[in-house]
Structures are given as structure tokens and as C-alpha cells.
């Protein structure tokens, strides 16, 4: 009997084309008569637009059209925001700025020309008269009465205030037996930096009245609906294709003005229009991530039990809302208790407009911030009470028997065993040995730091009741006359490898070879409905839809086989290309049943011809993967440089379908998280100029900056879906940042360090080593 594929290290179906340079990303698409688009972008963070002189651009060689905000007003819908928050202020967000610009890099005009070079040349000939206005880039200053108001029509810079309360924090203030720990953390602004920037090709065919759009997107179906609305087309007249997508990390879970503009230009010109984002544009005008200020009050019993947590979140939203901008910090509030059952919680989240690019979902999307808060808090508790950080965590973990566990934040964690993953990672790291080594080294004036993070994340997004555009997913399985299988998914993987894991699910379930299964996704004409890939949902929600569709197909095939074999359908199993009774006495070939189902010569009564089933899976809850990480760092006493010496991770993403893919997700996520802790930061100056505007300034980590990641798993399956999988796409990014920061703070304990804000650059550390701290 063939070995089951699920749980095995199966090589990826995606790779043969990619390792030979034969995948097709958006920029690889060439269409006859295709034109190229380039944008003129704002040089100012905040300014009124006077006249825009476009004559020179229009006269430039190869130029076909030039558009300004005035030209498109009323012709193209606003850039959409789907976040539903009570009382949310939503500024109008035009695809091209109309009378005012609100951040550096905001599109002001678009040029369409015969080549990319000609379009870029002409875009640079456009002269815009700006009347600069005072800019506000610091969200706390933006809240002040005297601050410039970015959207005058909205009154002030507060986009929303959301409160989340559970238990009774007020009663804790009177309890004098409790220790109150205060802290202020800054979670800096980051750039997602997918290696492929954004890009779009829009091709409107007037004869067919059909708009076909290739976009580097994580959400083709959502994009289709939104582009249809923006362009006043029926959705039937709009097809979106996500071709090969070179990474997204949340930045392509969006609908951008440039996508709208490419569609408008193609509709007006009747020719295909391509726009490929440059890296400088990508850093300026693709969504950013994080950017919160967190003020905390933590109530702790003398034994280390945390009984209350109050947090004010000031979330810097940037100048406009992109698709989910205001929703992201609300996820921080939702997950702020981490893996601790703290009975009293109060979080006030204030979303603030500033003269910067919008923030939105960047890998983890609000949950890395939550984990950072609570995991730094646990270390502060240990610091204040002079306890081991391990003991503080063990003290505050719920018991594995407490699950499902309803938290005062309103979420219910499905399953977990936090003690088990922490114990496992401590063993892997040799924790007590490390502590002894640390002591020895300290005596020699060398600084080794050991940092923990025990995290839980909210994944498999999610129940439709909690998701703006629904949280279900679509899956379809059909068997072709030759017996080969086609699988369709409404998700849109872009590197995660679900062409492989979905094929594993189906090959195992049908008892057929892996090579007989082909998985498609990303084309709205091929896949009738879908939500997309984000929030670690693709396998848990999308894979389950496929699993269910396959279940329906198997039921039908079993009925046909049973009719042929003279047994009951329930007695049959699918294995080794046969459908047979458990003992193998009655058996029929898979291909024979397929032929019977499709050629329909002797179908049992009541069975329609064909093998073609779909399913839409609606999850009853999120899933809550968790894990425990240990980072070991060395501080260079001369330069302040931090060296990540060891990294140990034990992650529990529920059932593991393909350990190779799970490792890959963890490694990549940890790398991004370490990047935030140590190096990455988007910096705007006080006038709102982006200082880190190229990859020469924005520090995407390189290979030699990492140590070997030692990864292991525990498996705690979820009852939320029949596969038992929880999701793993964001785990590393969510879990690892506080482990590294806790390690550095731990290393610098002899200097009286209690907290350092990220990124922990050498100059910051060097100052502490040379000058001490003032906290």
C-alpha cells in the first residue's frame, strides 16, 4: 500500500518552473499593442496642488495619454476600505490626488506611453505647483489640538477610538497588594518588501466589453469585485488573474489606486496597459506595517500572577485607509493577552492620521504587536519581581485542560498546551546550561542574552461573522475522463506551497498518485468564488474546502463502485488506485469508476453523470497556533553590535501536512521578525520625507546575519476543521521579535537596562554600553 502523503516531506509542484526561470510574474506578461504606465508622485508630505502642467509630457515621444486627478474625477471609484469599525472616519481616497497631497509618494499624475522608458521620461516632465502645508508625522503630535489637520472635512486626525474591556480593571486600582508595572513600547514602522514589487496589466477589450487584469495580488476575487465597482462594470465583465506572485506578506492583500488607474487607462485607450512598481515606489507607496505606540499598566500579584492589563494603543494609520488599515491595530487589542489567562483587560485603540503612507497588513498584522507587548510585559514582570522569565510564564499559563478557553477579550482559544512547547524549547536550547554560561561570561565582562517568547496567534481567518468580506473559502475537485484530477481553490498562494499540500490532501484521500493531481488558483474565470491568501488561512480554510469537496466526490464514487460490486458504499475504501472493501475481496479500479461516472452507461438510479464537486467551508472559529522560542544573543562590547548566536523554535500549528513547508514558513517568518528586532525601520523625517527610500537604506536582512534556526514542532490538532490544521504562515513573525528583544535586554541587565525600543541597532546599544541608561 502506498505511504500516506500527509505528514510527509513532499517536494513542491511549484518548483520546476521557478528554478528554470519559467514562471510568469506580471512583468513577464507581454500583450500585442501593450502600453506602459508611469506615475508622477508627490514630493511633499502635505501640500495643496495648484496647477499641473502636462503639455511637455503629452508632447514627449511615445506618449499616448496623461491623466491627472481632475481628469479621472467621477470616472473612477475611490480606493476602497473594507474595515468595519464603529464611528470610523473614512477620507475620500482618489486613485490620483485631486486638490491635495497627504504623503510623499502619493500619485498625482499618470502617463501612458509606448515603452516603460518613455512613460518614465514623460512622467518626470510633469510640473506640479505645490503650496506646502505643515506636515505631521508623529501620531502623538497629530492628536494635539494645534496639529495640522490632514483631512479638514473630518475635523481632526482621529480616525477612530475603539475600546475593548473584559473583567474589571478599575477594581484593581484600589488593591494595594498588587504591584503596578508601567511601560511604554514603540513598535516601529516596517516595509513588507516582497522581492517582486507590485505590478498590474489591465486589458480592456471593447468588443467583448471585458476587462482582464493580471495583478500581483493575494486576493484576486476581492480585487475583481472592487475593480468592477471602481470601473462601473458588472463583475461578469471583469476577470482578475493572479499569475506567479513574488511574495506579498500582506502588502498585496489590498486594492491600490495604481490598479484602478491601469484599468481606467486601458478602458479609455482600448489597449493593454502595464504598470510595474519600482522599488523606490514600493517603499514609498506600498502599504507599511506595524507603527504603534503602546502605553501599559500591568497589575501583578507578588507571586508573579498577572491579574490585569491596561493598554493604550496609538496606531499610526498614515494618510489614508487602504483596504484594512484601521482593522489591523484592533487585532492587537484582541490578542493582547497572549497565552495567559489574565482576568481583567482594558485596551483603548486610537487610530491616527499622519502624513505618511498607509499602514495595513504586514505578515502577522496586529498580532506581532500584541505578542511583543505581552511577551515584553512577562519579562518586565520577571525583572521587577526578580523571577526567572520561565517561571513567570508557567505561573500565568492556563492548563491544557482549560481549552476551549474563553478570554476576557472575547475570543475563544481552541486547543493548546503551552507548557509542553515551552518545556520542549528549553530542553532544545539547554536553558539552565545557558544561564550558567551567561553567569560565567558576565564575570569576564562579556554579555550573553537569553530571550524567551511564548506566543499564541489568531489564524485561519476566519468566521464570516468577524471578517469584512466573509471568511469562508471555496474548493473544487473534479476528475477528468482520463482519471487525472483537477483541484481549484479560491485561495491565492504566492510562495507558501499549497499547490503541493492541496495535492497531498487529494492524492491521499482518493488513493491516487500525487502526480495525477493538478492544483489551480488565482483566476476568477476559472475559480468561481474565493477570498484569498492571508491570515494563515490557506490550508486551514481553503484546504478544508477542498477536503470537503473531495469527500462529496468520494461519496458519489463509492455509490457507483458499490453498485458495480454489490456492496454498501460505506464498506469501501480508496487506496492504490482502487476502490475496494477493507479486506480487498471486492475491488474495482479507480479509472473504471471514473469512466462509469462520466460515460454514464450503468449509473445507479438517482446519480447524475460527472465527477465534479465543490464546497464552501465556513469555519466556526479561528484557530490559535502557538509556540515557544528561545533566542541567544551576544553583544559586542566594542561596537554594540548584536550577534544572534542561536535560535530555537518549537511551533505548534496543529497537524503538520508537510514538515518541509512548515519549516520554510517558520524560517522565513523568524527572519522577518529578527529583522524587525535588530535592523529594519522605515524612517520619515519631521517634514515627512522618507529617509529609507531604497534598499540601500532600508535594511532587509542578508544570509550572513542569521544563525542556524533549530526548529521543532508539537502537534495539538484543532477541532475547528476536519484536517486539524491551524496555520503557520505568520507564526515566526509573530513569535520571534520579542524573543530577540528579550534576549538583548537580558544581556544588558548588568547595565540596568529595563527596555530598549526596536530596532536594536549597534549605535543604540553602544550608547548604553558607554553611557549607561536613564530608566
Amino acid at each position: 500500500m502506498a505511504t500516506p502523503l500527509l505528514g510527509q516531506r513532499v517536494k513542491r509542484k511549484e518548483d520546476p518552473r521557478l528554478i528554470q526561470g519559467r514562471g510568469h510574474y506580471v512583468d513577464d506578461i507581454q500583450l500585442p499593442g501593450m502600453l506602459h504606465m508611469a506615475f508622477t508622485r508627490s514630493l511633499h508630505a502635505h501640500a495643496r496642488i495648484g496647477s499641473i502642467r502636462v503639455a511637455a509630457a503629452k508632447a514627449a515621444p511615445g506618449v499616448v495619454a496623461v491623466y491627472t486627478g481632475q481628469d479621472i474625477q467621477g470616472q473612477l471609484g475611490w480606493v476602497p476600505c473594507a474595515a468595519g469599525i464603529e464611528g470610523l472616519k473614512v477620507p475620500r481616497h482618489s486613485c490620483l490626488a485631486i486638490d491635495k497631497v497627504c504623503y510623499v509618494g502619493e500619485p498625482v499624475a499618470a502617463v501612458v506611453a509606448a515603452s516603460g522608458y518613455a512613460a518614465r521620461d514623460a512622467a518626470d516632465l510633469i510640473e506640479v505647483d505645490y503650496e506646502p502645508l505643515p506636515a505631521v508625522v508623529n501620531p502623538e503630535k497629530a492628536l494635539a489640538k494645534e496639529s495640522p489637520v490632514i483631512h479638514e472635512e473630518l475635523g481632526d486626525n482621529v480616525a477612530f477610538v475603539a475600546k475593548l474591556a473584559g473583567g474589571d480593571c478599575a477594581s484593581l486600582e484600589a488593591d494595594k497588594t498588587l504591584k503596578v508595572i508601567k511601560a511604554r513600547f514603540i513598535n516601529q514602522r516596517l516595509a513588507p518588501v516582497s522581492m517582486e514589487t507590485r505590478g498590474v496589466v489591465a486589458n480592456y477589450s471593447p468588443g467583448e466589453d471585458l476587462l482582464t487584469v493580471w495583478s500581483s495580488t493575494q486576493v484576486p476575487h476581492i480585487l475583481k469585485t472592487q475593480l468592477a465597482i471602481m470601473n462601473s462594470l458588472d463583475e461578469a465583465r471583469c476577470r482578475v488573474i493572479a499569475p506567479e506572485v513574488g511574495g506579498g506578506f500582506g502588502s498585496k492583500l489590498n486594492v491600490y489606486g495604481e490598479e484602478g488607474m491601469a484599468c481606467l487607462a486601458s478602458r479609455r485607450l482600448g489597449r493593454p496597459v502595464k504598470w510595474i512598481e519600482g522599488r523606490r515606489e514600493n517603499l514609498q507607496a506600498t502599504i507599511h506595517g506595524r507603527d504603534q505606540i503602546n502605553e501599559l499598566e500591568v497589575y501583578v500579584r507578588p507571586d508573579g500572577k498577572v491579574v490585569g492589563l491596561k493598554c493604550s494603543i496609538i496606531a499610526d494609520l498614515g494618510a489614508y485607509h487602504q483596504l484594512l488599515t484601521p482593522a489591523i491595530p484592533t487585532l492587537t487589542a484582541l490578542m493582547i493577552l497572549g497565552c495567559y489567562n489574565i482576568p481583567n483587560v482594558f485596551v483603548q485603540t486610537t487610530g491616527v492620521f499622519t502624513n505618511k503612507m498607509a499602514t495595513d497588513a504586514y505578515r502577522g498584522a496586529g498580532r506581532p504587536e500584541a505578542t511583543y507587548i505581552i511577551e515584553r510585559v512577562m519579562d518586565l514582570v520577571a525583572h521587577e519581581l526578580n523571577m526567572d522569565p520561565v517561571d513567570v510564564r508557567m505561573k500565568n499559563f492556563p492548563s491544557p485542560d482549560d481549552f476551549p478557553l474563553a478570554l476576557p477579550t472575547g475570543v475563544t482559544y481552541d486547543t493548546a498546551n503551552y507548557q509542553r512547547s515551552l518545556k520542549k524549547v528549553l530542553k532544545a536550547a539547554g536553558y539552565s546550561r545557558l544561564r550558567k554560561e551567561q553567569e560565567r561570561l558576565r564575570k569576564k565582562g562579556k554579555y550573553l542574552g537569553i530571550g524567551l517568547s511564548t506566543y499564541v496567534e489568531i489564524c485561519a481567518m476566519g468566521p464570516s461573522s468577524r471578517m469584512p468580506a466573509g471568511g469562508w473559502e471555496f474548493g473544487e475537485v473534479r476528475i477528468d475522463p482520463t482519471g487525472k484530477v483537477t483541484v481549484l481553490s479560491g485561495t491565492s498562494p504566492h510562495g507558501q506551497g499549497e499547490e503541493t499540500s492541496f495535492a497531498q490532501i487529494v492524492a491521499d484521500g482518493l488513493g491516487i498518485p500525487y502526480d495525477d493531481v493538478t492544483v489551480y488558483h488565482g483566476d476568477t474565470f476559472q475559480v468561481p468564488m474565493g477570498i484569498g491568501t492571508f491570515g494563515s488561512r490557506t490550508t486551514a480554510v481553503g484546504g478544508t474546502a477542498i477536503y470537503q469537496a473531495m469527500g462529496r466526490l468520494k461519496k458519489k464514487m463509492a455509490r457507483i463502485a458499490a453498485h458495480q460490486l454489490g456492496v454498501k458504499p460505506g464498506e469501501l475504501v480508496f487506496r492504490d488506485r482502487r476502490i475496494e472493501t477493507e479486506d480487498g475481496q471486492k475491488s474495482i479500479g479507480f479509472a473504471e469508476v471514473v469512466a462509469e461516472a462520466i460515460f454514464a452507461k450503468q449509473l445507479p438510479p438517482g446519480i447524475d453523470p460527472g465527477l465534479h464537486e465543490h464546497s464552501v467551508f465556513e469555519p466556526s472559529n479561528y484557530t490559535f497556533p502557538f509556540g515557544a522560542h528561545v533566542a541567544v544573543v551576544e553583544v559586542d562590547g566594542e561596537t554594540g553590535e548584536i550577534r544572534l548566536r542561536n535560535y530555537y523554535a518549537v511551533d505548534d500549528c496543529g497537524r503538520v501536512l508537510n514538515p518541509m513547508l512548515v519549516d520554510g514558513q517558520i524560517h522565513g517568518g523568524v527572519a522577518q521578525a529578527v529583522g524587525q528586532a535588530l535592523w529594519e525601520e522605515l524612517v520619515y523625517d519631521e517634514n515627512g520625507q522618507l529617509i529609507t527610500g531604497s534598499l540601500m537604506d532600508y535594511a532587509v536582512p542578508k544570509a550572513h546575519q542569521f544563525c542556524w534556526f533549530e526548529t521543532q514542532n508539537t502537534e495539538t490538532r484543532t477541532p475547528v476543521n476536519p484536517l486539524g490544521v491551524k496555520g503557520v504562515g505568520e507564526a515566526g513573525t509573530i513569535g520571534a521579535t520579542p524573543a530577540v528583544v528579550n534576549a538583548v535586554v537580558d544581556a544588558l541587565k548588568p547595565f540596568g537596562v529595563r527596555h530598549i525600543d526596536m530596532p536594536l541597532k549597534p549605535e543604540k546599544i553602544w550608547r548604553i554600553l558607554k553611557q549607561g541608561v536613564r530608566n
Binding site: 517536494k11 513542491r12 511549484e14 518548483d15 520546476p16 521557478l18 528554478i19 528554470q20 526561470g21 519559467r22 514562471g23 510568469h24 510574474y25 512583468d27 513577464d28 516603460g116 522608458y117 518588501v193 516582497s194 522581492m195 517582486e196 514589487t197 506567479e244 506572485v245 513574488g246 511574495g247 506578506f249 510595474i276 519600482g278 522599488r279 523606490r280 504566492h494 510562495g495 507558501q496 506551497g497 518541509m660 513547508l661 519549516d663 520554510g664 517558520i666 524560517h667 522565513g668 517568518g669 523568524v670 527572519a671 522577518q672 531604497s694 534598499l695 540601500m696 532587509v700 542578508k702 544570509a703 550572513h704 542569521f706 542556524w708 534556526f709 515566526g732
Partner: protein, 154 residues
């Protein structure tokens, strides 16, 4: 200007603008879209190709500077359809996720192994410092290069 270059074993002549970047020549004129553009500032290495056997970032070289040169792109690494050990290694060891950096990463590794057929993991990491990957955390890339090194020297 007219240039003559040998791309993946075949000579070709083309009329190009003097300012045309080599990467745009390869992608748009020669139709070899396996070479990608990731940053335009010579940092990310997605556009890495071999020019006369040396790994170069084709986004910061003009096509005219390559006149007379032999160029190897990812499409030319497996001319007979048999995967190069580096390609096979990236597949075996899960050295890629989205695949966008992969052609450049493979060609940079090709030069690395030519210069140092038995690199240590540290040497591989140092050797690939001109190539960025945002997906993998690099560990599986290191293993992929080790996989290829072992096969190529045996």
C-alpha cells in the same frame, strides 16, 4: 547602437538604445524573463546573470557594455532539459518559496561554487550576501547550495 552578444550559447545582434539596461535587454529584447528586477540599486541580486563567467547584477549594467560578451541566464543553465545540480538542490532542499529571487540566487551560487567547490555554511552565507530573499530565511538556500556542492564534486 548595434550590439552582438552570445546569450545562453547563441549569438544574437540587436539595435539598442545606449541607455538600455542589460536586464531590460535580456527580458524585453531577448525575451528571457527568468531574470528578474527587484530593486534597481544593485542590492537585491534578483537580476544576477553571468557575463563572461562572472556574476553581475544586470540592472546596473548597460546592454552596450555587454557587447561581445557571453551571457548565461537561468534559462541557459539546463540546456538539455536536465536540471543543473543547483536547480535540483533548490528543489530538493526547499530553497525557494515565491521563486522571485531564485534565478539570481542560483546564478550567484553558481559563481560561488566555481570559486569554492566545498564551501562551509558560513562561506555560503557570505558568498550570497549580494542576494536578498524575503521568504526563506536563507537556511534552506544554504542547504540547497550544500546539496549541489556535494553532487558537483562527486
Amino acid at each position: 547602437m548595434k550590439i552582438k552578444v552570445k546569450v545562453n550559447g547563441a549569438w544574437r545582434e540587436d539595435e539598442v538604445e545606449p541607455r538600455l539596461l542589460l536586464v531590460h535587454y535580456l527580458r524585453d529584447v531577448a525575451g528571457l524573463t527568468g531574470t528578474h528586477i527587484g530593486c534597481e540599486t544593485s542590492i537585491c541580486g534578483a537580476c544576477t546573470v553571468l557575463v563572461n563567467g562572472e556574476a553581475v547584477k544586470s540592472c546596473t549594467l548597460f546592454a552596450v557594455q555587454a557587447d561581445g560578451a557571453e551571457i548565461l541566464t537561468i534559462e541557459g543553465l539546463a540546456p538539455d532539459g536536465q536540471l543543473h545540480p543547483l536547480q535540483q538542490g533548490f528543489w530538493e532542499e526547499h530553497g525557494l518559496q515565491c521563486g522571485f529571487c531564485t534565478p539570481g540566487m542560483i546564478l550567484a551560487s553558481y559563481q560561488l561554487l566555481k570559486r569554492n567547490p566545498h564551501p562551509s555554511p558560513e562561506e555560503i552565507r557570505q558568498g550570497l550576501e549580494g542576494n536578498l530573499c524575503r521568504c526563506t530565511g536563507y537556511q534552506h538556500i544554504v542547504k540547497a547550495v550544500e546539496w549541489a556542492a556535494a553532487r558537483m564534486s562527486s
